[in-house]
Subunit: 252 residues, 2 copies
DNA sequence: CGTTGTGAAATCCTTCACAGCA
DNA sequence: TGCTGTGAAGGATTTCACAACG
């Protein structure tokens, strides 16, 4: 499993914390909405509210990028949009391939969020000869035999896997061998990749199971809840659950 | 924002760390695969490899559940499957509604992973009268006018939102008002919910943006990379969290 | 003034390393 | 002997609280 040794190069690395990186897209979206409403400046408090985080965290996050605010005033919306976009690498175009054009792959291909900022669906790939040549979201599906050629000709470095779990690992290996270094995995499988390759995963059933855990706990508490028991709330706006646990009044 | 203050009751709380909870489904999946191959026992090292984590973390995680292993031997697969399932609340059935039957909603309805483990699609709901009565994944789509009735009659406590972002918040509010206390949000929006309601988000474009960030950095490092520089690998198996963003996609 | 930027404290999570048990 | 379970150390992240500054 790709250990994720994060050797920091000796050179003064930018070192933006991973947790911060994961929130930058949230800020960017909130800022883009403000920009469209022609709001010129915004305070950390307001922006934090729009992004669903608290303002101290937001200011700390921005402090890793630089000093882009004005004391007593707030942040210039347009300027911040630009700075965050640049930091995230969205000022350039990222061609993406989607491998596995079933229900989910097709849904993603049709998803507008792709093209909107920096990402472009360069190709749709499927192993089923029946699919080859079909149009999905205005793009012609190509056969997986040509995967290597497609990737190198389009300069693709980001791949999305929406195949059945059984073939996800081999698809992953072919993608990596062909030059892909970032993978977004929708298949419910743990992918092994060599160092230098990033994998992020999206897994419906894991998310549901996490919800079920908390749901079960709420039910238990409710039953035990006598006067004075405090029911906790979970707003996990951002990645983790901030407030973490739930009381879970331990009976005997 | 809904701050979720977590009052800790005076009693010793069960307190399984959120990070651990997020990994339990991974362990469960690996264990289920072993179980299907009739493997009787497994060591922390083997199981950790299958789940994509390191063994110390796995043992620490399990230590929060109890002492379910045998020193010198390992863990009994069947027993662990049961214990984790119970901990996650998967020994009971969770009826789920999906709201918004577009491409993505339909893909999720067809997704096998739902039924497999404790979750059952109790209803599909859409606001478009054209959709009402249509069959998707063998289930008849119902109109959103009946949302409250559907939820209460089926005892639904988990809702999945796959609507366009513009209506996600109001759908969320109706779900909550009708009794839903856990929401899985696929719409690129920050949802506000009252205390006591859990929200988890799955957002394609956020994940892509995080990948783009690292991708950009790799490109930069590569350019600077002289002999001896080590390129970092990121295997972020599991999740932090889904977040939500799309740069202002004006949905049609 | 009002708001940012940030050291310092507090909290949460991961990793180490080894005692203890089957 | 081999592997679990876990204190303790080490990191990472969040929160606090306030000095600095436009």
């Amino acid at each position: 499993m790709a250990t994720g040794r994060t050797h920091r190069p000796a050179t003064r690395s930018r070192g933006i914390p991973e947790a911060t990186v994961a929130r930058l897209p949230l800020y960017l979206r909130a800022l883009t909405a403000l920009s469209e409403r022609s709001v010129p400046t915004v305070s950390s408090e307001e922006l934090a509210a729009a992004a669903g985080v608290n303002s101290a965290k937001l200011r700390k996050d921005f402090s890793y990028l630089g000093s882009y605010g004005t004391r007593g005033v707030g942040y210039d919306v347009e300027y911040l949009v630009y700075q965050i976009s640049r930091e995230l690498g969205l000022t350039q175009d990222w061609p993406v391939v989607i491998v596995g054009i079933g229900n989910l792959g097709a849904a993603l291909a049709n998803y507008g969020g792709f093209a909107s900022r920096g990402f472009r669906v360069a190709a749709l790939i499927d192993a089923d000869p029946e699919m080859t040549g079909k149009q999905v979201a205005g793009i012609t599906v190509q056969h997986s035999d040509d995967m290597e050629k497609i990737i190198s000709e389009n300069g693709v470095s980001i791949g999305v896997i929406t195949t059945p779990p059984g073939v996800a690992q081999q698809v992953c290996e072919r993608l990596v061998a062909a030059g892909v270094t970032s993978i977004l995995n929708f298949a419910p499988t743990v992918l092994s990749v060599p160092d230098g390759v990033d994998v992020r995963k999206v897994d419906l059933s894991i998310e549901l199971q996490i919800l079920a855990f908390h749901e079960q706990r709420k039910a238990g508490e409710e039953a035990e809840a006598q006067a004075g028991a405090v029911v906790a709330a979970h707003q996990e706006s951002d990645g983790k659950g901030p407030d973490g646990d739930v009381p879970a009044v331990m009976p005997a």
